[in-house]
Amino acid sequence: MVGSIAAIGAGLAAIGAGIGIGQIGGHAMDAIARQPEATSKIQTNMLIAAALIEGVALFGVVVSLMGLETGA
């Protein structure tokens, strides 16, 4: 039971991260299309932002892991 709730928590975190990273990726593509010469800079910043969002999502996953009772 706890495991299932933890899984739901992880799934919710994944939704949030998915939306966030999708936004970043989409806007980064827009930005690159608009200014192809700034591609490398945009990519770096995109990766940083994605990593930050992912970090938040992973907090969620870790918190659900904490709740997950493992062992035999």
Binding site: V62, L65, M66, L68, E69, T70
Partner: protein
């Protein structure tokens, strides 16, 4: 925090810290410093090479322009020399001409003088000859004239008559 996954173990903390710090010290001493130094050295050497190539190019350009200058100068000098030579030649020719003229004039003058001389000598000789001849002729005539008393008398008379008493 029951999950062993999210509970840091003291042993792993200890070993990670130890390994990481040892690794950092080792790599800094034996890898990062030599590698970065070598890369930096290479960068500077490439930069230097590029700079020196640039310098060489500039030098070559300079040399080229120098050569051009030299060539121009040489050309100008040659022209001048030619001009000078021409002038000298003209001078020499002119001088030679004048000397020749002078010489010729001198020769002519000398010739004229000697001709005059010869002429004078000839005239004198002629005069002398004429005089001698005249004397001879006069002698002969006189001998002839004075051969007889009559004639002598006639002459004296004649002279006396000429003298006349003035």
């Amino acid at each position: 925090m029951d999950n062993p996954l999210v509970t840091p173990e003291i042993g792993m903390l200890f070993w990670t810290a130890l390994v990481f710090i040892i690794l950092m010290l080792l790599l800094t001493k034996y890898a990062w410093k030599p590698i970065l130094a070598a890369v930096k050295e290479r960068e500077t050497s490439i930069e230097e090479a590029l700079n020196s190539a640039e310098d060489a190019k500039r030098e070559i350009a300079e040399l080229k322009s120098n050569n051009e200058d030299l060539l121009n100068e040489a050309r100008a000098e040659r022209d001048e020399m030619l001009k000078e030579a021409r002038g000298i030649k003209d001078n020499i020719v002119a001088e030679a001409k004048t000397t020749a003229n002078q010489e010729a004039e001198k020769i002519v003058a000398a010739a004229r003088e000697s001709i005059q001389h010869e002429k004078m000598a000839a005239i004198t000789e002629l005069k002398n000859q004429v005089a001698v001849l005249s004397i001879e002729i006069a002698e002969k005539i006189l001998k002839d004239e004075l051969s007889s008393a009559d004639k002598q008398k006639a002459i004296i008379d004649n002279v006396v008559k000429d003298i006349n008493l003035n």
